[in-house]
C-alpha cells in the first residue's frame, strides 16, 4: 500500500476515539442530571466535579485528535 493512503486510513481510524469520548461525556452529564433530579439541593455543590469529570473524559477524545494530526502532518 502507498504510504500516503495508509496515513489517511490511519488518521481515519484515530477518529474512533471520538466514540469513546462521546459515550463518556454522555454518561457524565446523564448521571449528573439523574442525580440532580433526585436531590436538586445538592446539585449546585457538585457542579465543579461535573466539569472536572467532563474535562478528563474529553481529554481521551482529544488525544485521538492529536494522534490523527501527528499521523497526517507529523
Amino acid at each position: 500500500m502507498e504510504i500516503e493512503a495508509a496515513k489517511q486510513i490511519g488518521a481515519g481510524i484515530a477518529a474512533i476515539a471520538l466514540g469513546g469520548a462521546g459515550v463518556g461525556i454522555g454518561t457524565i452529564f446523564g448521571n449528573y442530571l439523574a442525580g440532580a433530579l433526585r436531590n436538586p439541593s445538592a446539585a449546585q455543590g457538585q457542579f465543579t466535579n461535573l466539569l472536572i469529570g467532563f474535562a478528563l473524559t474529553e481529554f481521551t477524545g482529544l488525544l485521538g485528535f492529536v494522534v490523527a494530526m501527528i499521523i497526517l502532518f507529523g
Binding site: 465543579t48 474529553e58 481529554f59 482529544l62 485528535f65 492529536v66 502532518f73
Partner: protein
C-alpha cells in the same frame, strides 16, 4: 507547530489557499517591513501570536483598572462585573484549597483571566488565537507544574513524596501503586497543555471548515446559495459552542491547577 507550517507552504500558492482551515494557525511577523534586532541569537520579531499576547495583557490590565478605578462602596455596573470575577475565582480557590490557598490567588486569577480573554479575543474574526499553539499552553502548564513542585517541597520537605505512597495499603501493593502515581503526576502538565491546545485548535478548524463550505457553495450560483444556509447556521451554532468552550477551558485549567496545588499543600491525602 512545524506540521502546521508545512501544510501551509504546500497550499499557500494553490487555488484553494484561502480556504485551507490550517491557514489561521500560521505564525508570521505582525508588522511587515519592520526589522527587529536579534539579541544573543534570540529573534525579537513581534509575531502575530506575541502581538495578541500583548493585546490580551493590555485588555485585562486596562479593563480591570477602568472597571475598579472609582472604587465606590456601592458598585456601578462595570465595577460589579470585576467584583463578580474576583468572587468567582476566590470562591473556587476557597472551595478546593480552603483559606490557606488564598495566597495563590494572584497566580490563579492571572492564569484564569489570561486564558479566558485570550480564548474570547481569538473568537473575533481575523484575530489570532495563541492558545491554539501547543508551546504556549505547555509553557503555562509548566509554570503551574513548577509552582506545585516548589510549594510541595518548600512546605513539606521530603514529606511531599508521601503523595506517591497513600497510607494504609498492603506492603506488596506499593510496588504497583508508586509507579502509577509517579507516572500520573508527571503526565499532569502534558494533559493540561494538550487539553487547552486541542480544544481551541479543533474548534477553530471546525469554524473554518464550515465557513469554507459557505464560500464554496455560494460560488455555485442560486442553488448553491440556498444550500449554503445550512453550513452558515451550523457555523453560527459552533460559534456559540466555542464561546462556552472558551470559558470552560479557562475554568478547567484554573480548577485543575488549584487541585494540584492542594495536593502540594496536603500531600498525605
Amino acid at each position: 507547530m512545524t506540521f502546521l507550517l508545512e501544510s501551509e507552504t504546500a497550499d499557500a500558492h494553490g487555488s484553494g489557499g484561502g480556504l485551507d482551515p490550517m491557514h489561521q494557525f500560521l505564525i508570521s511577523p505582525a508588522f511587515e517591513g519592520f526589522e527587529f534586532p536579534t539579541v544573543f541569537g534570540i529573534d525579537l520579531t513581534i509575531t502575530n501570536a506575541a502581538y495578541y499576547m500583548i493585546i490580551t495583557t493590555l485588555v485585562i490590565i486596562l479593563g480591570l483598572i477602568l472597571m475598579t478605578g472609582r472604587g465606590a462602596m456601592v458598585p456601578t455596573r462595570s465595577q460589579s462585573i470585576a467584583e463578580l470575577l474576583y468572587g468567582f475565582v476566590a470562591d473556587m480557590i476557597r472551595g478546593i484549597m480552603g483559606e490557606e490557598g488564598m495566597k495563590f490567588f494572584p497566580y490563579i486569577f492571572a492564569l484564569f483571566t489570561f486564558i479566558l480573554v485570550a480564548n474570547l479575543l481569538g473568537l473575533l474574526p481575523g484575530a489570532y488565537t495563541f492558545t491554539s499553539q501547543i508551546i504556549v499552553t505547555f509553557a503555562l502548564a509548566m509554570i503551574s507544574f513548577t509552582l506545585v513542585l516548589i510549594t510541595g517541597f518548600a512546605k513539606n520537605g521530603l514529606g511531599f513524596l508521601q503523595l506517591f505512597a497513600p497510607k494504609g495499603l498492603p506492603f506488596m501493593m506499593y510496588f504497583l501503586i508508586i509507579p502509577i502515581e509517579v507516572i500520573s503526576f508527571i503526565s499532569r502538565p502534558f494533559s493540561l497543555a494538550i487539553r487547552l491546545f486541542a480544544n481551541m485548535m479543533a474548534g477553530h478548524v471546525l469554524l473554518k471548515l464550515f465557513g469554507g463550505f459557505v464560500i464554496m457553495l455560494s460560488g455555485l450560483g442560486l442553488v448553491g446559495i440556498v444550500g449554503a444556509i445550512m453550513p452558515l447556521a451550523v457555523a453560527t451554532a459552533v460559534t456559540a459552542l466555542e464561546l462556552m468552550v472558551a470559558f470552560l477551558q479557562a475554568y478547567v485549567f484554573a480548577v485543575l491547577t488549584c487541585i494540584y496545588l492542594n495536593d502540594a499543600l496536603h500531600p498525605s491525602h
